[in-house]
Amino acid sequence: MSTQEGLNGDQADQEGLNGDQAVQASANGDQVPQTVNRRELLKVAAAAGGAVAAGLAVRELTHTRRARQFLARRYDGEIPADPTDRAWTRLAAWTVPLQIQNLIPQHAPDLAVAELRVRALHNGARIGFRVEWDDDEEDLVDAMARFRDAVAVQLPVDPAMTPAVTMGTAGQPVHIMQWRASWQVDVDQGRRGVKDIFPNMFHDAPPEALAGEEAARVFYPALYVGNPMARRDRSSPVEDLVAVGFGSLTSHDEQTANGRGVFNSSRWSVTLISPLAGGEGKAALAPGILTSVAFAVWNGSHGNRGSRKQWSNWTELTIEA
């Protein structure tokens, strides 16, 4: 569809991003953006001039009509974790092309997922992403030589920065939220373990039978030292992480992300929801700003894990005022 020339610059831009979805102009469309970058400065300058036509002319020089980013729509109410909720499905999806991670070893073997379809919502307090991709097989298990499907959303901690898309750099950290199918099963059905992977496994005297649950924790080193991989009381399938480059990924001390993944008809639909401003080390988002977002996806049955993944470049993300 064409941009709505009658609106001010900001609103027209947002409409352009949203492809084929018709949206009513909102009353707060003229809010001044919070962040400062080249594009925003131009927008502010145009608004200060008070001439819509002049503003549009400047925009034409800096911005093509073809939509290049997507919009986190303002939503009145709790962001639904359920990806099948109509609040999500009625939104038009923004397509994000993916590429094989082959910058650093270990490389992904093949392009298991070619593109993602993403949507975003915020309610002024929380922001949610809904990511959807095609997958022939549901990989739910984290076990020996078996890997689970997963997806991640990456945001600059400082929304005005565009850190290296390769998981940030020193001084320019990124906030990553990862959802794993195995964690979804943990949340839905209770913690999965050896007995679920190998139902016929016989263990005559596990430590907890001899020492009690609490004293036996020492027999599970990763659990004992608090490794999030090992936790038994998982309440969210999404983990908050920080990174300053490949190999630096570290779980955040304060876990605030949530979400939900649903597999249906050879397709994963996953929501990842986080506070707009999650605090120290997390993306500091706010209504009305422009920032960047990137995605990664793992297909377990293709041996995807860690650096063996499909990833996207930065996509511009506008958070509706």
């Binding site: 070893p105 270990q106 490389h107 078996r146 080193p221 860690g306």
Partner: protein, 376 residues
């Protein structure tokens, strides 16, 4: 990739990180000739470290029968297949290591065992390499029909492939003693280390969803004791102590003496390139071709030196000190038919005779009016 020196290969090789040898390196000697595969080491390790749920299949220490035993299935066959033909020229390895042969996009040339590969720890146990004809009397070395036992733990390699493969530096080699550990807090369970280790001594815990491995009983080593698998060995085939850097030799150190002076103990599949720190005295009854493939070009010299042990008081004395103390023996000495083991501060830990005194009883016991089976 950095150029690092691997003394076992006699040359420089490619490794993802710069060489940084620890202040000292823990190392082991296993005498395969004395091993009876009783698995006491396996049980000692298992009952000490891997009794948790998720660790059921884990044998950080295992003893397998060669040539048809392996845990996991075919680990050595896979390794040899991956790195291809390996030739030696005057002690220098001319083939490729697991690092040099890594395909594009990989840090290490490896393979990831499936659950079924970990399901048969006793496969091939006591199976000879061929059929024994009726009437065969084995009276020569090496034997025509043979099997031998290979006790295995993590090699705490100087250039660990597991460490090289971890994309998030969750594996580290301790600078104080060279022990290689998986950081249980940092590991995210990618299993790249399991894929990379040529000896398949990193294992994935299905319950905690991270990888684990032999920790060399570091709480014992820190207090001057040898690991559980060493001190529990009833055949006294093992010793653990520190090995000097490649350009240093101290003939008073047990490991240096066996590896660098007498050269009776050899690394297992040195062609992997990881510079493993468990050294084996090769089984003298196994065919040399097999031993060359397994332990490299030093096999002939090692076997001959070992066979001459009766005329070598130093070697004999040191071998008698195996299994004689739970403490780490930093030095040894032979004097007047006795072998002495010393602590780090030169205090005596233990003394043993080079030859156990023998007493012969009479065949007929007059007191009990009976004949004796065992008279020595």
């Amino acid at each position: 990739m950095a150029e690092v020196f691997n003394w076992q290969l006699g040359r420089e090789m490619q490794y993802p990180y710069q060489a940084e040898r620890p202040a000292r390196q823990i190392a082991w000697i296993f005498d395969t000739n004395k091993c009876i595969a009783c698995q006491t080491c396996t049980v000692a390790c298992k009952s000490t470290w891997t009794t948790g749920t998720g660790q059921e299949y884990m044998l950080w220490n295992n003893v397998e029968t060669k040539p048809y035993g392996f845990f996991p299935q075919g680990w050595d066959v896979h390794l040899l297949d991956l790195i291809g033909p390996s030739t030696w020229n005057n002690g220098t390895y001319e083939g490729q290591t697991v690092f040099e042969s890594a395909p594009a996009g990989e840090r290490v040339n490896g393979w990831l065992p499936m659950a079924t590969d970990w399901s048969y720890p006793n496969v091939g146990e006591d199976e000879p390499a061929g059929a024994v004809e009726r009437g065969t009397y084995i009276n020569k070395l090496p034997h025509d029909t043979w099997f031998s036992y290979l006790a295995r733990i993590c090699n705490h390699c100087t250039y660990p492939a597991c460490l090289a493969a971890c994309p998030r530096q969750a594996i580290y080699k301790r600078p104080e003693d060279g022990i290689v550990l998986v950081d249980q807090e940092r590991c995210r369970g990618y299993q790249e280390c399991v894929t990379a280790c040529p000896y398949k001594k990193v294992m994935f815990n299905n319950e905690t969803r991270v990888s684990e491995k032999c920790i060399a009983c570091y709480p014992k080593i820190e207090q001057g004791f040898q690991p559980q698998c060493v001190t529990s060995c009833i055949g006294r085939i093992r010793i653990a102590s520190f090995i000097s850097a490649p350009d240093e030799v101290d003939p008073k150190k047990p490991i240096d003496f066996l590896v660098k002076v007498r050269k009776v103990a050899l690394p297992l599949y040195p062609q992997s390139g990881t510079e493993p720190n468990v050294y084996y005295i090769p089984p003298m009854h196994a065919p040399r071709e097999y031993l060359h493939q397994m332990f490299g070009p030093g096999v002939d010299e090692a076997v001959e030196t070992y066979q001459n042990i009766a005329n070598d008081p130093e070697l004999l004395g040191l071998m008698m000190l195996f299994g004689s103390t739970e403490r780490i023996m930093h030095a040894f000495n032979i004097e007047d038919g006795m072998a002495y083991g010393y602590d780090e501060d030169s205090t005596e830990l233990v003394r043993v005779p080079l030859r156990e005194p023998t007493f012969i009883r009479k065949y007929f016991d007059e007191v009990h009016n009976t004949y004796l089976h065992n008279i020595t």
